[in-house]
């Protein structure tokens, strides 16, 4: 089978963001999605620190310390973009105005519980940022992660063992192996990478999956 690399995963997810969508891209892996949004499709990226219409990374030398993304990296604003303060920014999030939030994850449960902010380790300094607001606020929460941990365990689990970010909040999971919808009756596999069978994915994932492959 051909696992998707980080860029391919970002491109696979980006393909599903429709014209006219308002979308927040979490820090880390989800930020890559911005580089792969289909050209010519008008999509408005929201950033927690008070931006709608976030543009690409500026050219070297054109950075401005007063314009950053939620990962505190230099950013640009698209023509038509807007700035606003933090309470407005999160009002937009909690008020269900964003069509999509794309978030990274340590674990997602079969019920759609998300764990992505804290390993729970005694020496781990907890940091949550805007993840809990995005998890409850966006109309659709898309998770983007590697399917397996470094030691081969499934990150899709029966019950999250890491502290939760949000309960029953994930709508769809994009991994380097598959695309899986979280439905009330369980996990529906809608896409698989080339050369991977449903049975093999089921074996790797551990929890029960349903086969709903669409012609990709």
């Amino acid at each position: 089978m051909k696992k998707l690399d980080r860029k391919q995963l970002a491109a696979r997810l980006a393909r599903d963001i429709p014209e006219g969508a308002y979308v927040n891209l979490g820090i880390g892996l989800p930020t890559l999605v911005a580089d792969h949004l289909p050209k010519g499709r008008e999509i408005i990226v929201h950033s927690e620190n008070g931006v709608l219409g976030l543009g690409p990374r500026p050219a070297p030398g054109a950075e401005d310390e007063d314009l950053t993304n939620a990962g505190k990296e230099p950013a640009t604003l698209l023509t038509g973009g807007a700035y606003f303060h933090h309470a407005d920014s999160f009002g937009m999030i909690r008020g269900r105005h964003l069509d999509f939030a794309v978030l990274g994850a340590f674990q997602v449960s079969v019920a759609g519980d998300l764990a992505n902010w804290h390993t729970g380790g005694a020496d781990d300094i907890p940091a949550v940022g805007g993840a809990m607001d995005l998890a409850v606020g966006a109309k659709q929460v898309l998770v983007m992660m590697e399917h397996l941990t470094k030691d081969g365990k499934s990150k899709i689990v029966e019950r999250c063992t890491y502290p939760l970010t949000g309960a029953r909040c994930v709508n769809r999971i994009y991994t380097d192996l598959a695309v899986i919808d979280v439905k009330p009756d369980g996990l529906h596999v809608v896409d698989l990478v080339e050369g991977l069978s449903f049975e093999e994915l089921q074996r790797l994932t551990g929890v029960s999956l349903k086969k709903f492959l669409t012609a990709a």
């Binding site: 950033s47 927690e48 620190n49 008070g50 931006v51 030398g61 950075e63 401005d64 310390e65 007063d66 314009l67 950053t68 505190k72 990296e73 230099p74 950013a75 604003l77 700035y83 606003f84 303060h85 933090h86 309470a87 920014s89 999160f90 009002g91 999030i93 909690r94 804290h118 020496d123 300094i125 907890p126 940091a127 949550v128 940022g129 805007g130 993840a131 809990m132 607001d133 409850v136 606020g137 502290p163 939760l164 970010t165 949000g166 309960a167």
Partner: protein, 246 residues
């Protein structure tokens, strides 16, 4: 009766000629001189964007200790908020995201048990600050329901959703960075440097703004004032060259 009114009117006109509202203070030292030990201080900024670095440096020089700091983060590298934390002036931090690759001052003190942390989801942090400024007693938010950060808090089911009760965060001081100001304290900002500053300005008893430029009254188009002067007590101009982001 008519005469008395006329007298008052003349006095009022005199008052307008000699500015009675002048929030511009001559120095950073003067702007922060009365901050006592144990104060709760909101500091604007999201990472380095919008961080009032000149005010923070002046606060370090001023010497107040045992402070409670409200900011999105807990300091980056060795300057600004990180320097204040590193100088052991901070007893407690309320923030959403302390852990950064370069938050070594906070990390060290936290692991040594020398600094207290109240971790607040970013939107809840913003809304608690906004609520303080807007006179709201408490509010229910869906954020963090069913998570560790809601443990011990009142919850309530409203309609088909579950909510967590959250209380406002008030501060004694807010230190913020703005772009332009006038002597009434009206403020504008630059791009994402705005972030928490407008809501923090409303939530503190004494808001101090460091600004790049001071203009005459009327020099800011009233349609574009972001923070009206009612929220601002002191304005201090800081020589700024726009630094490029790291």
């Amino acid at each position: 009766m008519e005469n008395q009114l006329n007298v008052k009117s003349e006095q009022f006109e005199d008052a307008i000629i000699a500015p009675v509202i002048d929030k511009i203070v001559p120095s950073l030292e003067a702007a922060l001189a009365d901050i006592p030990d144990g104060a709760t201080i909101m500091i604007g900024g999201f990472g380095n964007s919008g961080m009032p670095s000149a005010l923070i440096d002046a606060l370090i020089a001023q010497g107040a200790r045992n402070l409670t700091i409200v900011n999105n983060n807990a300091g980056n590298a060795d300057t600004g908020l990180a320097a204040l934390v590193g100088a052991k002036r901070v007893r407690k931090v309320l923030c959403s995201f302390p852990r950064q690759t370069d938050s070594w001052h906070f990390d060290r003190l936290y692991r040594a048990g020398e600094i207290e942390l109240e971790l607040v989801p970013q939107g809840t942090l913003a809304e608690r600050i906004r609520a303080a400024g807007a006179g709201i007693g408490a509010f229910y938010t869906p954020t963090a329901y069913g998570t560790r950060l809601a443990e011990g808090k009142e919850t309530r089911r409203i309609g088909d959703r579950d909510y967590v009760l959250e209380y406002p965060i008030h501060a004694d001081y807010a230190l913020i960075k703005a772009d332009r100001a006038d002597r009434w304290g009206n403020l504008t900002y630059r791009m994402t440097a705005r972030n928490f500053a407008p809501i923090m300005a409303s939530a503190a008893t004494c808001t101090v703004a460091q600004v790049r430029e001071i203009v005459e009254l009327g020099g800011i188009d009233p349609e574009v004032v972001v923070t009206p002067g009612i929220y601002v007590k002191r304005v201090v101009k800081v020589a700024t060259t726009l630094r490029k982001a790291a």
